[in-house]
Symmetry: D3
Subunit: 280 residues, 6 copies
């Protein structure tokens, strides 16, 4: 799980378990000693997709009972077919019955995102462009959803408002010009942070380059504008296309030579993949 | 916001803001004193849907600056059309720029769920049946997503593993019979908790009724099985149909006379509704 | 410890230890290396009672030093006599000296409750009635005190305000009638939650049954009223007697045929049982 | 509320409310808009006792709704008679219905302790002795229960293991002598902390005085031993009697001239006082 | 307080107050009602320095009592002379006595850092170079100490390990070459994050530039090496000098034309400035 | 680590790691599988000093990876010379790279304090006086800094406002006289807490002794005043000198016969000791 700190992951998973468990799973409580029986279970895919979150499922069951043993059959980032077993788990009934729903809720969401990401990645895989996510992630699940994007072959945009500055039309309006905005913001933030300028037209692209922006984000531009912007900015800054990009328009945009295509499509249009757990 | 405790809501919203903000929004930090300018913004719908989460958006901005004033134009539970303003906010640029993404991420997800719920509710609105959710909710967002289901005209199934017992095939297998399972579990849990029995066939329905289950969940049954089950169980227990139910099959199932139809469709198939915030 | 989630228990016990320890136990700090000496200790009963909390005592010492070994001599739910050793512990002096008070404070309170519960349970053990607790529990200790009630042979009423609806005179007054109150509240809450109606007279019992309440709580009724209510409601709802019930009046009430007798007596009249720890 | 930090109190009260409320009070949720009705309520005593916790009750209701207005009729530390109104509250039904049980659970416990404390205080009020509590308090409630002891006219012993060293037989055994124990422990702890020595006989009293202990705790001594110890130690150290002290033996012990009598009786033998809230 | 999120600040300040207060300030508790007296106090400088933390002092007192009124006399970033009043506060004795030490501990540390920073800034103020901090900050106080650096006229280096990649000798050794290291790390991290390469010699500078590093950190280089590195890298990357830089050697290093000088001197060599609070 | 509770230490260290790590160390993330390589590292002193915090460094690395093995070469409280290895660590590169800065930040600060403390302790080591700290500690680090004082041979003054009462001029002014202040405060606080009186002149010393204060703090007194105070108070109370004491004036003050010299010098004048970690 590159990019995830183990204890941070555990604490988040535990809060998800608490949300579902409250003081206790009363049905399992009703099993009494029988809840300590050893059982085996499998998570099976019912549709095609990209795996994302296997180690998280493993941690969910381990948190409920450290003696649970999980075998990830399909590693994160690999594809699976309908009917394929993606993960096996063996342990006390108690842990498996109590963790099933939380494990699946997370896994289904993450596989949905990885699968959507891979869908776009494949459409442009012969081109030197990368697919990036946005901050359009489910509240509380950002690190997991950004991890799923990486599993699907995408790259990450900024993690939040704290690790990269992004100058938008409102900021430009406040300062009066693109260059003024870049200059003022650069002087106030850590010099180690990149500055992205969201440009609505080529004029702003030129100004942003003059201001030495690190990343030029082309917002909802036409293909010809994008082509022009790439011509002007290539190798001077990272050129990123953004705004309403999905499978219907990604290919021509990528062909204009941008470095990055960022899109909320891979998160906000992702539905849950159909995966289910069955106790043997 | 019926069913949401104000301080619990605030604490959750604050954690969502922290996820996005980290130590600070560095772009806004770069605005300096200008970030205190008063601005007005509107959230506009770009597609048709059902509102859910307006008061949460209001709290997001208030948490960032108590002097922000929000006007909910479309109340939760009502429908909106593309182009309609659903909410207006007025306050310091700082609060609005910092809270925009968190507010929208939550609102878009919740409106997506309310809209999917309403889609099903409408298909059976002339019948005496209610549409209920499941525990298939985004980890960490259950109380919000269950609220959205209510906004869409649905009702809530159990909140978690703690407030209702649900006996499944695994439990029945462990105890040897439906009645044994009901009896044992009933004796161990609070007598104030209902017991649901997930039944795979009519024989189990009969046993569950004999065991005085409160709710009979008909799992993936055929229409004729459902009809039989309703005949046997009506007024003896709540009859709930469940398993792979969506717009394609909800109407005939409802017509068999079940009291409740529960389905994960309204949460795991919900994509985010298209809503955006524009600063005036 | 049925009905207690291990990590939730540990977190609560740790907060109790922190309350007592602050930054450190300065007396033990003064022992220096000598605090690492191995010692053995026993918890001995000085009066008769019912055990409740042995595994909690074990966790208290393990949290302070994972190498401490505890042997529960009298299992939870069993009775002990004055002078009997109920639990033995072996480990570093540090852990035992630091944990003693917290362990005993919890154990003495829980045994007190289990013993009071058993006192009532025994008075009616030949009758088909169960003794239930209430929400009259020490703030912060509810899950432990409800566990102690189960150790004493009682059953649990609702855990809190969230897992069962209880309609009282105030609610009825607000809605104007028992049936209106039931109907309105039922439509707003999860359909998986039971509804209890607290009835002051037989008329309300009749209305509550018509409204299909799940549980009829007979509040401070006379024996003849209770007998009537049982006659009317038996097998239509769970009949619960409540209000000022203790050893002096429980037997005749039980003899009227109610299903449940709930009483705060077993918690708010429970004093701590006399148990002490001695280091060998 | 002398000796209680407001935000610490609020955080604790909030956790007590959360324990009872979970995600929400579903009955109140069922009231819908009617839960916003203004109501008045009174807390009435059903037995005689000493008030402790009025301002806490006020905070409970304010936390649920800042517009609730509470009027404490009987101030903490004063006595009330059966039938007397001790507190009035006016506010939205929602806040009062949701907070009632938590408020009463705390108030009844604290009044119980204050009343038990006053019982002992009165028995020796003509003598120059003070009644002190112990660390035998309900886990998680120490600051509140020690506050109740002060309301009852008692004084507080150490708050926990961190603010005063207490040398017992086990410590003496480890070091070999009383003086060695005092010397070693004194050298390791903050010089601002007092040292109490629990003495089993007069020989230990002499040694503890030679070691310049701050407080001599006479553990389960006979009246003549206590008299001797007072003679030897008066004005050289604080003389504290302890061990199984209650109403049956407090008077003669106090008459021997000790400065302090500490006893768990006032907490572990305290039952809840009978107080109830009625909505007008 | 640019770059500090209000609620994050409050939560941290509250934890500092809790560290000092525990359950309560017992001396203030002893004042009883007299602790509510209104008093005025001033914080006076006893040595020359740069102000940093005035608004934090204000928050400390407000957290203890919202009615406390603080007047910051010397704004953050400005200098003060010995004997000068830097801040006035008026409020209940309770809040001022309880908050004094925490307020001063923080203020003295932050003024110490701002003053050390200004010392270096002034030595090179005619040159186009900026003074930056490092991650050598007191554990738990980073956001405050980085804020103090800004008050002293410095700029911030990365906030932590999460917002900028820094490739050191160990990383280079692991990958075999500077370029390989840059390439691999770039492909794994958000494309919005800058990459710093710590270079030990000019050869590494050349490689880092070829790898398109964003920042070239010259680690403990000689003046002539620095001059060469600036010649090669100027305008291709940000050139940062680092390693053992203080007042004795900063001027000649700055004169070589580097963009940034980062140094732990301004934090780890900062002693507390002498400031004291006196109640009038 | 006498005087530190293991879990409290771990929780604090973890929060320090979180401050530095955020969601993840992105440079280490870029290493991929190579970050799991085993490496060895040493912490080497670059100046002379007293060790304090070795076991904390060990915990930092263990928290990041439980399989990391740390060998403390120089135990806490012992001195080291420039060039000496004080600690060795062996483990996965990931843990060592991620923990290095937090470990050193803490260790350098604590060694700085222990070294300053030892500096004063040595100046008076032939005299029967002890060097004590104050509450002038870095916010959030008190227990660690007070531990470092003990490592340097000092003793601890009160931990906070909760474990000892300290009567200052403001309190005396409020009550009107030293004796009145002592009497009132004593009656309100736990009888187990000592009372310190800060005296500005001999008259106050006399009054404080009459009031039976436990500790007489001589505040900024002249040598002759101190000598007089010792004459009057010796063996009646602990005599403590305080106020602006450092290496320049500690010897003559100690020679007047005081029991304790308390000074902020050992914390607020401590700079970080020069220690660095090198990976082999």
């Amino acid at each position: 799980m590159r990019g995830l700190v183990p204890w941070d992951v555990d604490r988040r998973l535990q809060s998800f378990l608490e949300e579902d468990l409250g003081f206790d799973d009363i049905t399992t409580q009703g099993l009494g000693e029988l809840s300590l029986n050893l059982v085996q279970a499998e998570i099976v895919a019912k549709s095609e997709g990209v795996m994302a979150g296997g180690p998280l499922v493993s941690r969910v069951f381990s948190l409920l009972d450290p003696e649970t043993v999980t075998q990830v059959v399909v590693p994160d980032g690999e594809t699976f077919k309908p009917g394929q077993i993606v993960l096996k788990v063996k342990g006390r009934a108690r842990a498996i019955l109590m963790g099933e729903r939380v494990a699946l809720n997370l896994l289904q969401r993450l596989c949905g995102i990885a699968t959507k990401t891979k869908e776009l990645v494949k459409l442009v895989e012969d081109l030197p462009v990368k697919i990036a996510d946005t901050r359009k992630t489910s509240p509380g699940l950002r690190i997991f959803e950004k991890y799923a994007v990486r599993c699907g072959g995408g790259v990450n945009h900024r993690l939040g408002l704290y690790d990269c500055a992004l100058i938008k039309d409102n900021h430009i309006a406040i300062f009066g010009s693109v260059q003024k905005a870049i200059e003022q913001i650069r002087s106030a933030i850590p010099f180690t942070a990149k500055i992205v300028v969201e440009c609505a037209d080529l004029d702003q692209v030129v100004q942003a380059l003059q201001g030495r922006a690190d990343i030029i984000m082309l917002d909802n531009m036409s293909l010809s504008q994008i082509r022009q912007a790439v011509k002007i900015g290539k190798n001077k800054a990272i050129i990123e296309a953004s705004g309403g990009i999905g499978p219907h328009n990604i290919r021509p945009i990528a062909e204009q030579g941008v470095d990055i295509i960022s899109t909320g499509y891979i998160t906000h249009q992702a539905i849950w993949l159909d995966l289910s757990l069955s106790v043997k």
